[in-house]
């Protein structure tokens, strides 16, 4: 009996040892693990949904060599640091944190784990192992502004704005610049909703703007509610945000300002895998394929589509919509003729261009 027990014990020990060895051997071929933190549910039809399409593309493009993991609906508070740390502890070597509120938690975790690479969307803090990236959505917004300038009959354009941060101010300005250049009679009406995602509030804002005569509604919020409200009203155009929102307004959809992360994410993962990744601040626009705004409403005239496509091609070719002369609200020249605003200046834009009415909320 006793010998039997010892034998059993030995057998167990040997099995354990061989399994350990096997797993050690397997480690060499383990896939490269990439983690994602989303602020909303992956089914939000907007921001997080587009980032998750990027994650899926990484899996598709790189196959067995990578394994991706995501955590959705992570609050931008005390929970974020734990969620990011848990991804590190799970063996992820590259982690994308896809909302501004994750900036400080990401920076804290990055400091603690120097051999893990972190990519934070829309922030401004960089470290050796922490890079930032953002979409130049203002390029798409400029094209949308052009179409709005041409399509409006009431010369009133509604704009649903989320928070007065540089990204949102920049995009409002891009639309106003397009109006100044293509239809100076058109006026922009802005409603601040102080949320990124609240379908009820967004629909209310859209209805208010339409009641005030707006016949094109642009939005810098993530739900399709405004598009749906425009479709219900009839005779009003909506501009989609983040994802292709044409499916929410067959008649109303003018164009969407879409963010595409598929190729960019695949490229980042590859560069971290082969060791060529370097920290920095990446701004992806139309030239990089990160921003697109060419899903025009099929009912638009061919000339208009051609003109919009021409603008898109110019931007792809290096044209910056923030090219002078640009004046501020007081009429002071901020960007002289012939020069254009740098990324550094655009990154902290906190003033309205000439033509925008009202003040930036404080």
């Amino acid at each position: 009996m006793r010998t039997f027990r010892v034998k059993q014990w030995l057998a167990a020990l040997l099995t354990g040892a061989s399994l350990t060895l096997a797993s050690l051997g397997a480690q060499a071929e383990d896939p490269f693990k990439v983690g994602f933190i989303y602020v909303g549910p992956v089914g939000d039809n907007g921001w997080s949904y587009q980032h998750d399409l990027g994650r899926k593309a990484v899996e598709k493009n790189l196959g067995d060599k990578v394994k991706t993991t995501y955590i959705e609906s992570v609050p931008e508070g005390a929970d974020a640091e734990r969620a990011i740390t848990n991804l590190v502890k799970d063996g992820n070597k590259l982690i994308f944190t896809t909302s501004f509120g994750y900036m400080n938690p990401t920076a804290k975790v990055a400091k603690k784990y120097p051999d893990v690479t972190f990519m934070h969307a829309t922030g401004y803090k960089q470290e050796k192992n922490l890079g930032t990236y953002i979409a130049k959505s203002f390029e798409g917004r400029y094209v949308a502004g052009f179409l709005a300038a041409k399509m409006t009959k009431s010369n009133t354009i509604g704009y649903i704005a989320s928070f007065p941060i540089p990204e949102v101010i920049r995009d409002i300005n891009a639309v106003q610049l397009a109006l100044n250049r293509y239809n100076p009679k058109a006026k922009l009406k802005i409603v601040w909703v102080n949320t990124w995602f609240d379908p009820g509030k967004e629909a209310d804002a859209a209805n208010t703007l339409m009641d005030q005569g707006a016949d094109v509604i642009l939005q810098h919020t993530d739900s399709p509610a405004a598009m749906q409200a425009a479709e219900r009203r009839g005779g009003v155009y909506g501009v989609g945000q983040d994802s292709d929102m044409s499916r929410f307004g067959e008649k109303a959809h003018l164009v969407s300002v879409v963010q595409n992360w598929e190729d960019y994410y695949t490229g980042v993962v590859k560069s971290v895998m082969d060791g060529t990744w370097k920290s920095g601040d990446f701004w992806g626009g139309m030239a990089e394929g990160v921003v697109t705004s060419n899903n025009f409403n099929p009912a638009l005239s061919e000339e208009l589509k051609a003109e919009a496509t021409k603008i898109i091609d110019e931007i792809k070719g290096g044209y910056n919509p923030f090219t002078g002369p640009i004046k501020d609200q007081k009429g002071e020249v901020k960007v002289p003729e012939g020069s254009s605003m740098s990324i550094a200046d655009l990154a902290k834009m906190d003033w309205y261009v000439e033509g925008v009415e009202g003040d930036i909320p404080k």
Partner: protein
């Protein structure tokens, strides 16, 4: 027809066993749910309930998550025992965070922990003030505190949003809605070298002890209990109803305020728009899950925190959707309430009374 009839005497044993029973039923249903979704039920339950606590860092995070819920719930229990329905822990927490942050930001380079003491006291006072508005309306005009505290939640949230987008915004922060980081002096000391658990959890434990003493050992606690069970009896006995109302709301408001100020000075370290993912509301569930008893609430808040963390880990390890966490929490509450109903009531079949029976 099936009717619910009150039992003459609910089994004392079952009253205590009910949470355990609810827990077991949740586990069983959870296992069935996981199997139906194609996950191995044992692995899934292990990931949800055991894996989050497998290292000291996990335990530390567990206590960090439980602290604000515990502080809010323990205060709510005091009010609920006296039949005062404070639904406003969320707003009181946010006010604590807001005022605490405003004070902390006045000392940008301080190293002295005296600043922290001041910040914590201001946070507590802010929570008390916010609950005090409801107490004033209740005692002066007999306003329903459920309504006033809910409405005050929204006001507090909007005040916080205003402050973080406006006067308390970090001037160097590219106008993003965040305050500057707090100085070392205004930051809660941590209890572990390698973890985020801070003395806020210690304060919560002290609150548990004090509240236990108050409700179980003091005459004041007895008065509250009588007021909660039968307001008329309390009046007849000459207990000061208004003063008791003020007292319970001050206690629950102050503790919620402390929870808020501990969040911003502890794991967050600055004022942000999303201080709380709804701790004040989760605390209502936790207070009832814990039977309004301090020790029960301690256990319930730890369980609630564990389910949050487990849900997150399950997303990482098993790729389950986030909605599963909410489902799990909802199930637990559902079973607890169901068990409670069946312990206090029983089903009886009633025969429809007909004319012929009446004539008999």
């Amino acid at each position: 027809m099936i009717k619910l009839q009150p039992r003459r005497e609910p089994s004392a044993l079952m009253v205590y066993l009910s949470p355990v029973l609810a827990g077991l039923l949740t586990l069983i249903t959870g296992a069935i749910l996981f199997t139906a979704l194609g996950y191995n039920p044992l692995t899934a339950l292990h990931t949800f309930l055991i894996a989050p606590l497998q290292d000291s860092q996990g335990v530390s995070e567990w206590l960090v998550k439980a602290s604000p819920i515990l502080l809010c719930a323990i205060g709510l229990a005091v009010a609920y025992r006296a039949n005062i329905w404070n639904i406003g822990a969320e707003g009181q927490l946010l006010m604590g965070a807001l005022v605490g942050s405003a004070v902390a930001l006045q000392f940008p380079d301080s190293e002295s922990k005296a600043v922290l003491v001041l910040v914590l006291i201001c946070g507590i006072l802010a929570g008390m003030f916010w609950a005090g508005i409801a107490a004033y309306l209740k005692t002066q005009f007999n306003t329903n505190e459920i309504l006033t505290t809910i409405m005050l939640n929204y006001i507090a949230l909007n005040l916080l949003q205003y402050a973080v987008h406006g006067p308390l915004k970090d001037p160097e922060g590219y106008s993003f809605p965040e305050s500057a980081a707090f100085s070392a002096g205004a930051t809660l000391p941590t209890l572990m070298e390698d973890g985020r658990v801070h003395i806020g959890f210690g304060l919560a434990l002290i609150a548990v002890l004090l509240v236990w003493f108050l409700v179980s050992k003091s005459f004041l606690g007895f008065q509250m209990k009588v007021m909660g069970m039968e307001a008329k009896a309390a009046k007849f006995a000459g207990y000061p109803e208004k003063r008791l109302t003020w007292l319970v709301l001050m206690i629950s408001g102050g503790l919620a305020g402390l929870a808020g100020v501990c969040e911003v000075t502890g794991p967050i370290g600055q004022l942000i728009p999303n201080v709380s993912p709804g701790y004040g509301y989760a605390a209502i569930i936790v207070a009832f899950l814990g039977r309004l008893h301090p020790i029960g609430i301690l256990a319930a808040s730890l369980l609630m925190a564990l389910i949050y963390m487990g849900g997150e880990l399950a997303q990482i390890k098993l790729s389950t959707p986030a909605a599963l966490t909410s489902l799990f929490q909802g199930m637990l509450l559902f079973y607890l309430l169901a068990c409670d109903v069946l312990i206090r009531y029983r089903f009886i079949k009633t025969k429809p009374t007909t004319l012929s029976q009446g004539a008999n």
